[in-house]
Amino acid sequence: MMIDLILLSVLLIMVIWTVMAIRLVRSAVGLALTSVVLSILMFRLNASLAAVFELSVCAGLISVIFITTISFTRRMSKSDFKTRRRQRLSKFWPLPLIIIAAAILLFWRHFPSEVIFIRVPAENVRDVLWNTRHIDLFGQVLVLLAGAFGVVALFKENKK
């Protein structure tokens, strides 16, 4: 319970850092770290396969995508950076305050005090994926196809 609380707090701090970081690259790195903390939480919740996916795909692949995208766009100059820092502080300082206020409010109200869960016998995730939900696998294939054609449509003749 305590460890969960600590991990969740770290997750929240990572997220706040991600949001408030001034350089985009740092934001992307923050996002990757958020993913890492999230996958640790998933391990704690016995969801090992999902945690592995989270670690490899989200922390790895998505960070790569973001950093690539960022690198295509124009880099900030030094003077830009300084003005941007002032702007960002003026814009983002309410966020931690809001988060703290919301947290106090929610814990104080004993948010959701009573929720009843319907427990079901455990099933192996591989069985679920391969035996009862292969329509989802078909959907994943379709999503990947869509992504592939999307990349073709969006990047193909950019060199022109």
């Binding site: 929720v115 009843i116 319907i118 959907g139 999503v143 869509a146 999307g150 969006l154």
Partner: protein, 476 residues
């Protein structure tokens, strides 16, 4: 047999992409044939379907898909609109590479939509809806114009929020249901003791669907995306994609899990009525042809949602009928817009006028679409709106019935403005050299106009063969 609906487009997709020699036009023709075949196949179904009662079928073990009378109406609409989009793409997208990509995306979207219609699992439905949404982002920005990208990005942001709402709802559903299959879910809902959690989960999913289908206080992305998209993409998007990912799913879920609570029905009906009125009012002052059609689309979808909210079998059948009619007449109007855009190169209605003299086929078919949208007899739109009003009246929703009737006056109003500004009235100076578009655009217009007129004239046949059977879903 039904798996062909998924397999055939998939095989075409594979065949087209495997060999590099296949010209985009061949892909076009193949897709057009497949979609036409789909429409024909589906329309020939009802008799056999009722006889054999072969509703649920499996592909691989447990690969559960199901078809019922409602799916048939939707599948027919998908086939028709996809065919039309195919024709429009062929004559409006000039770059062969882009055309090939469009065809690929169209095929993936077709597979996605066909599967969505047959699915009975809420997460799988979400998955395919999301797939189609991703395809729509790309379709909107297919020619990478400045405005098209803007529209695509706005759709992307709003769609992301819809995704988050729907996923939160699914997470809440996991708390009280061992399965996400619709029937199992409904069963779990009926025994679960905490109504707030159930209502919260349903409400979150509904709000996501409202965003996806572009209903009034959630509609913001829709006019921007429709008006900025490439004309072929806007036909596909306005004609069927938004309707399947938003409206169809809403209707399907209303059958099993939304239908219970009066609160939810009241809310759905209120949103539908709001969409009707605001869509129509907003359409009146538009200057952009496609934008006006987009607002009109919001208004018409409002009718479908209003009828869905009633919750009686007759109202649901009326909604399904309006679904089909809306798909046909709205795509007809968008094809008209595509024709005008191809000849004039602009969508600004202030630069148009009297085009009917120069483009007779476009002008006349647009008149058919306009009359059907406004709900004038004997076109198809009249019958479905009439059924909706009847259903509202029969269910005791007198206010909404009167409201739906009065709102069609507004529809008539903005449609008259559109016709006067674009097709009729005096020919604008400098438009003397405009010619009718080629057969690639005239044929889909004629096909759609013929469908609208035929459905309107043969209404009793259509009603008995396709629409009334939809009511039987309630009994199953």
């Amino acid at each position: 047999m039904f798996s062909l609906l998924v397999l055939v487009p998939f095989l075409i997709l594979v065949a087209v992409n495997l060999s590099k020699k296949v010209a985009p036009n061949v892909a076009c023709s193949l897709t057009a044939l497949a979609t036409l075949a789909q429409a024909g196949f589906v329309v020939s179904l009802p008799g056999t379907l009722l006889k054999t009662n072969n509703v649920i079928f499996t592909w691989l073990p447990d690969f559960k898909l199901a078809i019922d009378e409602f799916s048939i109406v939707v599948l027919a609409a998908i086939g028709i609109v996809a065919f039309v989009a195919c024709c429009v793409a062929r004559s409006t997208i000039n770059d062969p590479g882009q055309r090939a990509t469009f065809m690929n995306l169209l095929l993936v979207a077709l597979i996605g939509m066909n599967t969505t219609v047959m699915l009975r699992d809420i997460f799988s439905i979400y998955l395919f809806v999301e797939t189609i949404a991703i395809i729509s982002f790309v379709l909107i920005s297919i020619d990478r114009g400045r405005l098209a990208l803007e529209g695509a990005f706005k759709y992307l942001m709003l769609s992301a929020f819809a995704t988050i709402l729907m996923l939160s709802s699914i997470a809440l559903m996991l708390l009280f249901s061992p399965t996400l299959e619709l029937s199992g879910l409904a069963e779990a809902m009926s025994v679960y003791p905490n109504p707030i959690l159930i209502k919260l989960s349903i409400g979150l999913f509904l709000c996501g669907l409202f965003i996806k289908s572009g209903l009034f206080p959630f509609h913001w992305w829709l006019p921007d995306a429709y008006s900025a998209a490439h004309s072929a993409a806007s036909v596909l998007l306005a004609g069927i994609i938004t309707k399947v990912v938003g409206v169809y799913v809403l209707m399907r879920l209303s059958l099993s899990i939304f239908g219970e609570s009066l609160h939810i029905q009241a809310m759905v009906m209120a949103v539908g009525a709001l969409s009707i009125i605001t869509g129509a009012v907003l359409a009146m002052t538009q200057k952009n042809f496609k934008r006006m059609l987009a607002y009109s689309s919001i208004s018409q979808v409002g009718y479908i949602i209003l009828a869905t909210g009633v919750g009686t079998p007759f109202a649901f059948a009326a909604a399904a009928f309006h679904f089909f009619n809306h798909a046909t007449f709205k795509s007809l109007l968008f094809v008209n817009a595509a024709s005008v855009e191809k000849r004039l190169g602009t969508m600004d209605m202030r630069e148009m006028g009297g085009l009917s003299n120069r483009m007779p086929a476009t002008g006349i078919t647009s008149l058919v679409g306009f009359l059907s949208t406004a709900g004038l007899p004997p076109f198809s739109g009249f019958w479905s709106k009439f059924m909706i009003v009847l259903a509202l009246w029969a269910a005791g929703k007198y206010f909404y019935a009167a409201f739906a009737l009065l709102a069609s006056i507004l529809t008539l109003g903005y449609m008259l403005i559109l016709q006067r500004n674009v097709f009729f009235g005096k020919l604008k100076d400098g438009l003397g050299g405009v010619k009718e578009v080629g057969p690639g655009l005239v044929i889909p217009q004629l096909v759609l106009a013929a469908i609208i007129v035929l459905v309107g004239v043969c209404f009793p046949f259509v009603l008995n063969k396709f629409i009334f059977p939809v009511q039987s879903i309630f009994l199953k």
